[in-house]
């Protein structure tokens, strides 16, 4: 099984600790003045959904988790269940709202995502880095205001809300960075 060195640690890495798969949800590299490098990790247990905090020193390694990643797409939501389809086999998979987490804001019909399977059960998804979403509701901005550092909330087609510049109008399509949840730009339309 592959191993990851501390220098390869990053958000999204799937690792095996004490026989269970975890995903790194935060990785903070810390190095005081002349001190040793510390890799402070927050890890989500992919089966039990619990969060663990662990700190590693440079040079340590972690095993990669025994998980499979497949290309899938989002189909629809039914109450608290999100339904996805494997692009190759057309097999459908269900994830709970808890498993999807904050990523529900990006899920529009047909969105290509990558899905993690552990023992053939879906346990997590990751959306593309950038997602284009239609603005369905937002306050009109002051006319001629083109400033980009002043923001207002805008609701998009998925029901999610994002901070956008004042000049964004209903009907605009905006590009969002899913890694940070921040607005990147308006897509010409």
């Amino acid at each position: 099984m592959a191993t990851y060195k501390t220098s390869e640690f990053k958000k999204g890495l799937k690792v095996q600790i004490d026989g269970e798969p975890y995903i790194m949800i935060e990785m903070n590299f810390r190095k005081p003045g002349k001190g040793a490098a510390l890799y402070e990790c927050r890890l989500r247990n992919l089966i039990r959904n619990t969060i663990a905090s662990k700190t590693y020193r440079g040079g340590e390694t972690l095993e990669s988790a025994d998980v499979e990643e497949i290309a899938a797409q989002y189909l629809y939501r039914q109450a608290d269940t999100f339904v996805f389809m494997d692009n190759k086999t057309f097999e459908q998979y269900e994830l709970s709202a808890e498993q999807v987490g904050d990523d529900w804001k990006y899920l529009k019909e047909g969105l290509p995502i990558s899905m993690v399977l552990y023992n053939n059960n879906p346990i997590a998804i990751s959306p593309p880095n950038h997602v284009e979403l239609l603005v369905t509701e937002c306050e009109p901005g002051a006319k001629g205001d083109t400033a980009t550092n002043v923001t207002k909330p805008a609701k998009v087609e998925t029901g999610g809300e994002f901070a956008v510049p004042i000049f964004i109008k209903e009907g605009n399509v905006i590009r969002i960075d899913t890694r940070t949840g921040s607005y990147i730009e308006r897509v010409n339309n």
Binding site: F29, K34, G35, A36, L38, E40, Y56, E60, E69
Partner: protein, 330 residues
């Protein structure tokens, strides 16, 4: 899965941020010009490198035959311009600064990039106090505040950890870390006081430094002197200081060590620690030692991470917001 990379050619910092960066650099140069410092340039590639337990320099092979590019003299990309600038002091320069690039391997995170911009300056005749005063003045001017506070390493540990860093044993430091609920790495070298101090500093002390106003931490443990002089107090302390803003370390200064025999001893000790950590020892002989044999005037030197300064001035939370192309896009 990396199939979604888009817009990878774009800078990660906005043009507005790059304008702020340029204006801070202009103000910084004006500051040093007003204080009659000479701006100098020294090589990025050098035969010498600093020997530090936790600094890992990157090397380059200076090949003669381009067809056998892996054969040649090993040169080091500078982790700071310290050696070369001290050689200028030994040659008679009295107030010098430079804005340069520094390189450090295996340092990557929100506040680290393997290549970064460093401002470094030296002033002959400074004591640690006057060196700290100059740093305070610069920080105040760049960050638009007239308040820069100071706290000793001992006082900071007493306040934030509740332990005397100069008196506590390794096991007392370990017990403090355990009691205060720090996530302790599994391979901490148990009997090593400095490693425990660094862990406590990083997790409990640093986040509290420079929160109300920029803050200078000074009088480090003698065992962490690096290239600073040790003052024979009881206990002896290293005349070393660091500037923090909102828990982010911005600068590191020394009342510089002048005695080459002390540097030789420290180099040997550091190389043993590097080997114990599984790293290669580094060559101790250097032109800096030659310059120190010749005679280095008493001075204070400070290195400041310019990218971090911009980050803090802009209220940003990571370097990628203030660097056009961090390592992932370099």
């Amino acid at each position: 899965m990396t199939g979604f990379q888009q817009d990878d050619f774009l800078p990660t910092a906005s043009l507005e941020m790059l304008r702020l960066r340029a204006s801070l650099l202009e103000r910084l140069r004006a500051f040093f010009s007003r204080h009659e410092f000479l701006e100098v340039e020294t090589p990025l590639l050098s035969a010498d490198t600093v020997i530090d337990r936790h600094l890992d320099p990157l090397s380059v092979t200076l090949f003669e035959d381009p067809r056998i590019s892996e054969v040649g003299r090993q040169m080091w990309l500078q982790t700071s311009p310290e050696f070369a600038m001290k050689r200028l002091l030994a040659a008679g320069a009295e107030r010098i600064y430079q804005v340069t690039r520094a390189f450090r391997g295996a340092e990557r995170g929100a506040h680290h990039n393997p290549e970064f911009t460093m401002v470094e300056w030296y002033r002959v005749g400074d004591s640690m106090e006057t060196g700290m005063a100059l740093l305070s003045e610069l920080a105040g001017e760049m960050l638009a505040t007239d308040r820069v506070s100071q706290i000793s390493y001992r006082e900071a540990f007493l306040r934030h950890v509740g332990i005397d860093p100069h008196a506590a044993s390794a096991s007392e430091l370990e017990a403090a870390a355990t009691n205060l609920g720090i996530a302790i790495p599994s391979d901490m070298p148990c009997g090593d006081r400095d490693e425990w101090l660094n862990l406590l500093l990083a997790t409990l002390v640093e986040p509290k430094l420079g929160v109300a106003a920029p803050e200078i931490l000074y009088d480090y443990p003698a065992s962490q002197a690096a290239l600073a002089q040790v003052r024979n107090d009881n206990p002896p302390v290293a005349e070393r200081f660091e500037l923090y803003v909102n828990g982010v370390e911005l600068a590191n200064g020394y009342h510089e060590l002048l005695d080459p025999s002390v540097l030789r001893e420290r180099n040997q000790r550091t190389n043993l620690l590097r080997q114990a950590d599984g790293k290669l020892p580094l060559r101790g002989d250097s032109r800096l030692l030659e310059a120190m044999e010749h005679g280095l005037p008493s001075c204070v030197g400070v290195a400041l991470g310019f990218d971090r300064l911009v980050m803090v001035a802009a209220g940003a939370n990571c370097l990628s917001k203030v660097m056009a192309f961090p390592i992932d896009r370099a």
